[in-house]
Symmetry: C2
Subunit: 469 residues, 2 copies
C-alpha cells in the first residue's frame, strides 16, 4: 500500500524537502552491511529530521496514519535491524550530529544520536578523555551503537556500549519525549528504562540524544601478537592472563586463513607467519612502566601456554597496521560470506565451540573462518559459499544454501548447550529473529512481547525486529 496523501502532506509539514520519495534515492536505505541481499526491503519514504521535535512529530504522524517506521543510523549493522518494514518508512538520523554538551568536569559528553563514532572519538579526544567501546566500523552512529548495544574488542576490560551510557533522550511511540538518566553515575530511582532502551533495536523508542560517561585517557598502550599451532591452543592461553591479575584491554583470536585474505585486501603483512592462529593482546595502563610490566607477565604466560613466538609491536605505526588488518577481517571474507555468526559463550566454552565450528566445516566440506574476542566469549564465525585457500576464494559450492542452513542450526544448538546466546554484539534484527526464541525460551520472549505491547501498543516502531509481532 502506498503512503497516503495525508501522510505525505504531514511529513512535508514537518521536514519540508528533507523527504526522499524517489526510488533511486530510497535504494541505499533498503539494506545494512549484512553479507547477503536476503532481507533487502525498500522504504516508501525516507525522512531526515534535524531534532527530537521533528522526530516526535513524525512518530505522531506515523501513529495517526498507521505507518510503521524504522530508525536508521549509519547503516553499518549486520543483523538487518535498520532494514525498513514492508509498507514502512525510514527515519534517517544523519542530520542529527551535533554536540549538545561537552563536559570535561563531569567526564561526560552529550551528542545527538546521528553522530558517527569517528566524529565522537574526535570530540572525546578534544576533551582529553577516553570512550573505550570500539565496535569496529567508525561510520556507525552512536544512536545505532546504543540501539544494538554494540561491543567490540575492548569489552573485555571496559564492557560494551551499555556501560558508558549515562543518559538518553528517547521519543516514545506516543510521540512523547522521554529523558532518562543524566550526568550522574549511580541510580536506584525506579526501573532501569535506560538499559531497557539500550539494545532494543529501535522497537521501543527512537533514541535522539546520548549522554556518555568518559574515562581518563590511558597513558600507554602496548600490542602483543602470539602465534599458536592451533586456534584452540591460542584460546586456552587466555585464562592464564586473567589468573595473573591482568585484564587486557582486548584479547582477539584470529585464524590465519582469513588473515591471509585481509593481507591480500590491504597489501599488508600480519607479523606472525607460523601456526594456524594468533592471539592479539592489547594492554593499556597509566604509563609505559605499567604496560611494559603487564607485557612482560603476558609474555611469560604466552610462552608457558605454548606460543610459537611473542611479538611486541612497540611502534605506533606497527600497532596501527595490526589493528587495520584485524579490523578488515570481515571485509576480507565478505565477498564469499553468506552468514555471519556473532555468538557469545562462557569463556571456558570458546575453544570447544570453535572446535565444533571446525568439525562442522570439515563435515560439510565448507570454509567457516572464525575470529573474535577470546576473553569475552564472543566468537565471529562465517559461512562462506566458496572455499578459502591462501587468501583466495574458490568457485561457489553448489549446495551452499542447504549447507549454510545446516551449519546455522548446528552452531546455534551448540551455543545453547554451552549456555550462550546467539548474538553477543550485532543484535537480532531480522537476520537472527527466527532463532531467538529457541535460544532464550518462551518465558523471556513473552515478557519482551508484553513490554513491546505496553510501550508501543499500535506496533509502529520498527515492528518485526527481534521477534515477530
Amino acid at each position: 500500500m502506498p503512503l497516503s496523501e495525508s501522510w505525505l502532506a504531514g511529513a512535508r509539514d514537518i521536514v519540508g524537502d528533507r523527504l526522499l520519495l524517489d526510488p533511486d534515492a530510497l535504494a541505499p536505505f533498503s539494506h545494512d552491511e549484512f553479507a547477503t541481499d536476503a532481507f533487502r526491503t525498500a522504504p516508501l519514504a525516507v525522512a531526515k529530521p534535524v531534532d527530537e521535535k521533528e522526530v516526535a512529530a513524525l512518530v505522531r504522524l506515523c501513529l495517526r496514519e498507521g505507518v510503521p517506521l524504522t530508525t536508521r543510523g549509519g547503516g553499518t549493522g549486520l543483523a538487518g535491524g535498520c532494514i525498513p518494514c514492508p509498507g514502512g518508512i525510514v527515519l534517517s538520523m544523519e542530520l542529527q550530529n551535533r554536540v549538545i554538551d561537552a563536559d570535561a568536569k563531569n567526564h561526560t559528553i552529550t551528542v545527538q544520536a546521528g553522530m558517527t563514532l569517528k566524529r565522537l572519538y574526535e570530540e572525546v579526544d578534544a576533551l582529553s578523555l577516553y570512550f573505550p567501546p570500539h565496535p569496529g566500523d567508525e561510520g556507525a552512529f552512536i544512536g545505532g551503537a546504543v540501539a544494538a548495544n554494540a561491543g567490540g574488542a575492548r569489552a573485555v576490560k571496559y564492557g560494551t556500549v551499555k556501560r558508558f551510557v549515562l543518559g538518553l533522550q528517547v521519543v516514545m511511540a506516543s510521540g512523547e519525549v522521554m529523558e532518562l538518566g543524566g550526568k550522574f553515575i549511580k541510580s536506584s530511582s525506579g526501573y532501569h528504562l535506560l538499559d531497557l532502551m539500550i539494545g532494543s533495536e529501535g522497537t521501543l523508542g527512537v533514541i535522539t540524544r546520548v549522554t556518555l560517561g568518559l574515562l581518563p585517557r590511558v597513558g600507554s598502550v602496548q600490542t602483543l601478537i602470539s602465534p599458536f599451532a592451533t586456534v584452540q591452543q591460542a584460546i586456552e592461553a587466555v585464562p592464564g592472563m586473567l589468573e595473573r591479575g591482568i585484564v587486557p584491554c582486548a584479547v582477539e583470536f584470529v585464524e590465519h586463513a582469513p588473515m591471509r585474505a585481509a593481507e591480500r585486501l590491504l597489501n599488508k603483512t600480519w607479523p606472525a607467519r607460523t601456526g594456524d592462529a594468533s592471539l592479539m593482546i592489547i594492554l593499556d595502563g597509566r604509563n609505559e612502566e605499567d604496560t611494559l610490566s603487564q607485557a612482560e607477565t603476558i609474555g611469560e604466560v604466552m610462552e608457558k601456554a605454548g606460543a610459537l613466538d611473542v611479538l611486541l609491536a612497540d611502534q605506533k605505526v606497527k600497532q596501527a597496521e595490526i589493528l587495520e588488518l584485524r579490523s578488515n577481517l570481515y571485509e576480507a571474507v565478505r565477498p564469499a560470506t553468506v552468514e555471519v555468526y556473532d555468538v557469545c559463550v562462557p569463556r571456558s566454552q570458546i575453544a570447544g565451540h570453535v572446535g565444533l565450528v571446525h568439525a562442522l566445516a570439515q563435515r560439510l566440506g565448507a570454509s567457516m573462518p572464525s575470529f573474535g574476542h577470546a576473553a569475552d566469549g564472543n566468537v565471529h564465525s562465517h559461512f562462506l559459499k566458496s572455499i578459502l585457500r591462501d587468501g583466495l576464494f574458490g568457485p561457489e559450492l553448489p549446495n551452499w544454501r542447504s549447507q549454510r542452513d545446516e551449519a546455522t542450526a548446528a552452531l546455534y544448538a551448540d551455543v545453547a548447550e554451552r549456555g550462550g546466546v546467539i548474538s553477543g554484539e550485532h543484535g537480532i534484527g531480522l537476520v537472527k529473529r527466527a532463532y531467538l526464541s529457541k535460544n532464550l525460551g518462551p518465558v523471556p520472549m513473552a515478557a519482551m512481547r508484553a513490554i513491546k505491547r505496553a510501550l508501543d501498543p499500535q506496533g509502529i516502531l520498527n515492528p518485526g525486529k527481534i521477534f515477530e509481532t
Copy 2:
C-alpha cells in the same frame, strides 16, 4: 481482611510448617533499617520457601487468591522496599542460601538469592576472586542487593551491583520461572530484561538465583586520609585525581561532626583531628609498587588542593579501623536520624549540593550531617531531630517534623535543579515514593507503570513500591 482458609491450606501444602502466622513472629518482618517507624506494617503471614519451585507455587497461590506478596531479603534496606503491603504476606528468602555453582574458570558464581553478602564474600574469596560491590551492611542478601541495585563506596571504579550481575533466575507474577543471562559477558540478544529486573525492588518478579561475574583479586590496597578545612574543599580536590588518570577504588568524604559520634560509638579514633572534613581514598592495584605510585600522585594532588595533611594507613589493622568508623557513620547518627537522603548528582555539583545542605541546616537551626561518595556524586545527608555536638545529641527539637519536611522538599528541589536523582543506591521503596514523579517527570513514570501492568497485570508483586498503583 484476614487470609482465607484456602490461602492458608495452599501455603501449608507448599511450605509446610515454614509458615509464620503468630503476631510476635511476624513483627520483625514489619520494617527494614529505615530510621523511623513511620512505614511499619505487619504482614499477615511469612512463608519461607527453600527454592524457586516453592516460590513459584506461592506466587501462583497469591495470584489465585489475590494476596499481594513482598519478597524480603536481609531486611537491611533503608527505603521500606521490603515492608509488606497492607493485607499482604512476606516471602522470606532466608532459607535460600546455597551456592549453586562456583566457577573459577569462568570467573562466575551462582548463588541462591537469600545468601548474605558476608557469606558471598567468603565464597568468592575461596575462589581467589573478587566481587567489588560493598553496599555496607554485610547482612544484606544478594537478592536484595540486586533488587535495589545497591552501590557502596567502590562504585567509583567498579560500578554498582548491576555491573556484576550476569544472570538471574526470576519467578514472574504468572508463577513462571524466567532464566535470564548466564555465564557470558556480552549480549545483544533481545531486550535487557536482566537490567530491568535489577533495581525493580521486587515489583516485577521474585529473584531466586543470581549469577555474578567476578574479577581477579587485587594485589594491593592502600588507604589515604586527608583532612581539609571545609567539606567543600575536600570535595573539590577530587577532580584533580581523575585528571591525573587515577580512578581510586573509593573516594569517601566524611564530615567530622558525625565522625565524632562514630568514634564515641566504637571507642576508636579517626586519624585526622583538624579541619571540618576528611577525604578517605582507597587505592587498589596489581601490586604494592602500583598502589604506592598511585598514592604518591594522590598525595601531591591533595596537597595542591589544600589538604591539611595526607595520612597513609599502611597497616591492615589501621585500614580496618578506618573502614569500620566510616561504615558505622549511619549507625552513629541513627538515634537522632529521622530522614536519610541518598541523592546522586553530577560530580561537579556535589560541593554545591552539600553547600545547600549546610545552608538549610543553618536556616532551620538543625543538624544535617553529610557523608558519601565524593567521586560518584552519591551524597548521604541526614536530618536529625536533635542537635549533634561533639558526638553527642542534644534534646529533641520541638518542630522537627515540619522542619524535616521543609528540608526534604528543598533538598530534592536542589537535586532536580542540578540534574540528579533522589536515590543513588538505597532505592525508592515506600520512603521516597511520593517524590519520584517530581524528580523523573511524567513520561518515565507512565512507562514504568505500563511495564508493571504488562508483567504483573493483577498487581500482586510488592504493589505500591516505587510508585503508587
